[in-house]
């Protein structure tokens, strides 16, 4: 039985690896678009301007309240109703970017809020304008605080790319289901797909823990 399973996996790993590459690209591009938007939303939510603040809060709450599966369906199948037709990959990137922006805005907001108030006061005392205070003092420190939870979120997004199967993106789960449908070896191929996801997420999670320790070294030393 072991030999049979390994033989099956040897035949399945080629197409699954192609799917894994698509999943990885999807995650990277989606995060690359979504993270800067999340930072902008975080700054907007903390803005003194009421209209901007409420607009950003509205966007964040609606996007966070909508499951990614629904966002994917709306972007891919809904937008053509208003003559915006995106390819599967682009639609998936847009959906991931929307979800990433909404969720990471809260992570960024927490990071920015965690910057000691003394830093803000000192920057103000030096005569820095608001934009310069944010750019040179607050945001760099806030991002450093936010990096570990952001990386954990990135790992979740990578796993979440499996939902892109529903809009015909040939990612890892799509490949796995295709092989399962032909061979009826669903358990074998889904197990292999699970191992391939773990091969990415487990080292990534370990890397995040190491990074957390390294980034917090100066705090531990001061204490």
């Amino acid at each position: 039985m072991g030999g049979g399973l390994l033989h099956d996996w040897a035949q399945q790993i080629g197409p699954l690896a192609q799917g894994l590459w698509v999943s990885a690209r999807l995650a990277v591009v989606g995060l690359a678009v979504g993270l800067p938007l999340g930072l902008l939303l975080a700054i907007g939510v903390g803005s003194k301007g009421r209209s901007l603040r409420w607009a950003c809060v509205g966007i964040v709450e609606i996007a966070r309240g909508t499951p990614m599966l629904v966002v994917l369906q709306l972007v891919y199948f809904g937008l053509p109703q208003v003559n915006i037709t995106l390819s599967s990959f682009v639609a998936a990137v847009v959906s991931i970017a929307v979800i990433t922006a909404a969720y990471t805005s809260e992570i960024f907001r927490s990071g920015l809020a965690a910057v000691p108030h003394g830093q803000q006061d000192a920057a103000r005392a030096l005569g820095l304008r608001t934009a310069d205070r944010l750019r040179y003092v607050i945001v760099p420190q806030g991002i450093r605080i936010a990096i570990p939870p952001l990386l954990n979120f990135a790992i979740l997004i990578f796993q979440g790319t499996s939902l892109a199967f529903t809009i015909a993106v040939p990612e890892l789960m799509a490949q796995a289901y295709g092989i399962g449908a032909s061979t009826f070896l669903y358990m074998q191929v889904l197990s292999l797909a699970g191992l391939m996801y773990a091969a990415i997420t487990l080292p990534s999670a370990a890397g995040v823990r190491l990074l957390e320790k390294r980034l917090g070294r100066h705090v531990a030393a001061a204490a």
Binding site: F77, P80, T85, S87, S88, F165, T166, I167, A168, P170, A174, Y177, G178, G180, A181, S182, T183, F184, L185, Y186, M187, L190
Partner: protein, 289 residues
């Protein structure tokens, strides 16, 4: 004294309840036995749940799906209802949504069979036991206005084709068309993309054509000429019911019942009821694609 007496009374009450319950069970069993005496199954085989034929279902209209009351209907639903009557069974539907769940349900012993225009292939026969063919099905290419009429046209005109995961033709079209062939979770999604202009054609089974394109204007289906590059275009698919490998008696019984349904014309009737070509009732000799 009093606590001891109370304990004795409580114990007696519990034992009485257990005894009465056992008598009740005996009565249920005898009722079932009496029921069984009125209905003699044509064949002997075991099922996942006694007295029930558990059918794992991923709905595929018109092959097998449920009505608003949850009853199994469709071509295979009609046939299974007749078989259940012959074998003194109630049909229990296990709605699982996709073949990725229904096949493992059969393999793991949670369901007796699964349904839904599942084709007989050598790969599938290696991991489940397939019944004899029930009816045949063919590949159909659907496009706007029926303008795509052959597999060669898909290649020569660099057309974009969509299909749903699990089609017998998936691998062949993938090799032939490369990135121009896209797989969707359902045929409905592929048809939606045809309408949105992301696809030039959709490949589907001829069985599902009417149901999948109902309410969709401007599309038409064509059965393409045989093309050796796509095996499914050269030989029709044969619909089957996969069963668990460890229940050969069930498969033997189903094969006998399928044979009787064919000779009595029931399969033809079921196909005609759903506006399908009665010729599909003759799948030919069993083969494995």
């Amino acid at each position: 004294m009093k606590p001891a007496k109370l304990s004795a009374v409580a114990l007696a009450a519990v034992m009485a309840a257990v005894t009465l319950g056992a008598c009740g069970s005996g009565d249920s069993a005898s009722t079932a036995g009496a029921g069984a005496a009125e209905c003699t199954p044509r064949h002997q085989f075991s099922t996942v749940s006694e007295g029930e034929l558990t059918v794992a279902l991923a709905p595929y209209e018109p092959a097998a799906y449920t009505d608003s009351s949850g009853n199994l209907v469709g071509i295979e639903g009609e046939l299974l209802r007749q078989i259940a009557e012959w074998e003194c069974l109630e049909i229990k539907v296990l709605p699982l949504g996709s073949y990725a769940a229904t096949i493992p349900a059969v393999q793991s012993g949670r369901a007796d069979i699964t349904v839904g225009d599942i084709y007989r292939t050598a790969e599938r026969a290696a991991v489940t036991t397939l019944t004899d063919p029930i009816y045949k099905d063919a590949l159909e290419i659907v496009s706007k206005g029926g303008t795509v009429t052959s597999i060669q046209q898909l290649v020569s005109d660099n057309l974009r084709l969509g299909g749903s995961t699990g089609g017998l033709w998936d691998d062949d079209f993938q090799k032939l068309l490369g990135d121009n062939f896209k797989l969707y979770q359902t045929f409905q999604d592929a048809v939606q993309d045809l309408q949105a202009g992301r696809l030039d054609a959709v490949v589907m089974s001829s069985l599902g054509y009417n149901a999948l394109t109902a309410g969709v204007s401007g599309v038409a289906g064509v059965m393409p000429p045989a093309d050796s590059r796509v095996t499914a275009s050269t030989a029709p698919g044969q619909a089957t019911w996969p069963t668990n490998n460890s229940n050969p008696e069930l498969t033997t019984a189903l094969n006998a019942d399928i044979s009787e349904l064919r000779s009595s014309g029931a399969i033809t009737e079921a196909l005609e009821k759903y506006d399908l070509d009665p010729e599909l009732a003759d799948p030919g000799e069993p083969n494995l694609l």
